[in-house]
């Protein structure tokens, strides 16, 4: 059995859900990375 993972085939709802879910994990991760970089650059100054 094979069903497509092509974005054109998937519904808009699926795409929105995908974006929201990635944002759910991506935003905290980016926040953590930005804090780390900010501390690193501040300390090397």
């Amino acid at each position: 059995m094979s069903y497509s993972t092509d974005p054109a085939v998937r519904g808009t709802g699926q795409t929105v859900k995908l974006i929201l879910f990635w944002a759910f994990v991506g935003i905290p991760l980016l926040w953590g990375v930005s804090q780390t970089i900010a501390n690193a650059t501040k300390m090397f100054r």
Binding site: M1, Y3, T36, I37, M43
Partner: protein, 481 residues
């Protein structure tokens, strides 16, 4: 029907139209939380002053937590750092034990039940630890974060691995790399989050650790449960569009399956155990001593403040390396990726003393950033390597057992670095040169790892699972194979 039947594997089979790209963030929900373990040390200093701070004379307005701690003193009855160090050690030991003992169960029940169990253990571990801090009973923290939390770490770590490999048979390295990258990134979220929460709950006479544990336990439980709810396993026989299942085995990539118990009877399992153990030993010793090492090797050119920034950069490259190297392994092969780790690692460890000798901060930092990226890459590439050697069917359980190599390296690496340094200093070697021998020993360990990787061969066909042999699998999983 049981109230918890929604956790069962048969309830999480993806319907047509489900995007497989929903699965990596579900895995990240778990790994971003359990990656907190690397940042647990931020609680150590505050927890040495739980009693002392109540007797303090600090009367200033609400100070940042760092200053509250700095103004406080330890009192008789306060815990010592050496006692608190056992919390993390216990957690890592139970990570290895739980992943080894629950891998087969996890393969049977599926990722949702495993993630739910991990969320209960990890979140619950924080709550028990909060009680331990509140009652000032250290054994409760050992039991809570160390044992219960450690089991959450182990079960959570391996829970999404097989699912991701099944969803991404065309890019297994990238898929597991994304999840395991989260374990590296979790510390970068947890460290500032812990400081923020302790700042919010602290007063001049109270450090706020117990309240922080409660909030973090609840947040982590909820976040991990989102992953558990969202995760899906593919329907039986599903393949990605355009993907053609290889009909025959390629060099070091099998199309057969080896049972987890049978895998333990193959030399390949032990070669891979040593490959992981030696790669992790070389990296973990550096991670634990990075701050002191950079200051001592580079004399006055690295201040304590700059060293803390250096440690932050190491965490970042540890995380990025997990994704980069595992994804690269999809193109150049797992064995070749480990050859890069070992050969490049040997060169870099050999260059580090020279960089310190010529006082080149840039070269020193660059060497360590690449070394640490390969340390992270070792973790994230191993699941796909196991899948190549032993097949997909028992990869979760086999991965769980292989993670005992991590526990061993977690003890071996720091001990090696610390004891050799001390031995050198005791025998009159200057602090700046005390790490030189350690670097060469690390290079030697990587050479042994290179040999283990060199001797890796496909598993003999007598170990393959025979038709009808399917111990411990459910009907749904049977159908999915």
């Amino acid at each position: 029907m049981s109230a918890l039947s929604w956790l069962d594997r048969e309830h999480i089979v993806a319907k047509p139209g489900f995007s497989r790209w929903m699965v990596p963030p579900a895995a990240l929900c778990v790994h971003l939380c359990i990656g907190q373990a690397y940042a647990f040390s931020v609680f150590n200093l505050p927890m040495t002053k739980l009693i002392g701070i109540t007797q303090g004379a600090a009367t200033q307005a609400h100070l940042p937590i760092s200053q509250v701690i700095a103004h406080a003193h330890s009192a008789p009855g306060d815990w010592r750092l050496t006692q608190l160090g056992w919390i993390f050690t216990l957690a890592i030991v139970f990570l290895g034990l739980s992943s080894a003992f629950t891998g087969t169960w996890l393969d049977r029940v599926g990722p949702r039940k495993a993630m739910f169990t991990a969320a209960c253990c990890f979140g619950g571990g924080f709550l028990v630890s909060a009680l331990g801090v509140h009652l000032h009973q250290l054994w409760l923290i050992y039991l809570g974060y160390g044992v219960l939390g450690g089991c959450g770490l182990g079960i959570g770590y391996i829970s999404p691995v097989k699912t991701l490999i099944t969803w991404f048979p065309d890019r297994p390295g990238m898929a597991t790399g994304m999840a395991i990258m989260g374990f590296g990134g979790g510390a970068m979220i947890a460290a500032p989050l812990s400081v923020l929460l302790m700042h919010a709950f602290s007063t001049p006479t109270h450090v706020g650790v117990a309240e922080t544990f409660v909030v973090m336990g609840v947040i982590y439980f909820c976040f991990m449960m989102v992953g558990a709810v969202m995760v899906r396993v593919p329907a039986p026989g599903w393949q990605p569009a355009g993907y053609v299942v290889p009909a025959a085995a390629r060099k070091l990539i099998t199309v057969e399956n080896v049972h987890v118990d049978q895998a333990l009877r193959t030399p390949q399992f032990y070669l891979l155990w040593w490959v992981l153990c030696l790669n992790v030993t070389a990296g973990i010793g550096v991670l634990g001593q990075a701050s002191a090492m950079s200051q001592e090797m580079l004399g006055g050119r690295i201040t304590p403040v700059a060293a803390a920034g250096f440690v932050g950069l190491l965490s970042l490259f540890n995380m990025l390396g997990r994704f980069f190297w595992a994804s690269t392994s999809d193109y150049i092969g797992r064995r070749n990726t480990y050859f890069v780790f070992f050969l490049l690692g040997i060169v870099l460890y050999a260059v580090v003393p020279t960089s310190a000798h010529i006082q080149s901060v840039a070269l020193f930092v660059l060497c360590y950033l690449i070394i640490i990226s390969m340390y992270g890459g070792g973790f994230s590439t191993i699941p796909a390597y196991l899948k190549d050697i032993f097949g997909v069917r028992y990869v979760g359980a086999i991965h769980g057992r292989l993670l005992t190599a991590w526990s061993a390296a977690g003890v071996f690496g720091p001990v090696l670095v610390n004891y050799i340094r001390q031995y050198q200093i005791d025998h009159g070697v200057a602090k700046a040169d005390a790490y030189t021998v350690t670097m060469y020993i690390m290079a030697g360990l990587l050479f042994i790892g290179f040999l283990c990787n060199y001797f890796m061969r496909p598993v003999h066909e007598r170990h393959f699972l025979r038709v009808g042999q399917s111990e411990g699998l459910t009907g749904t999983e049977e159908a999915a194979q």
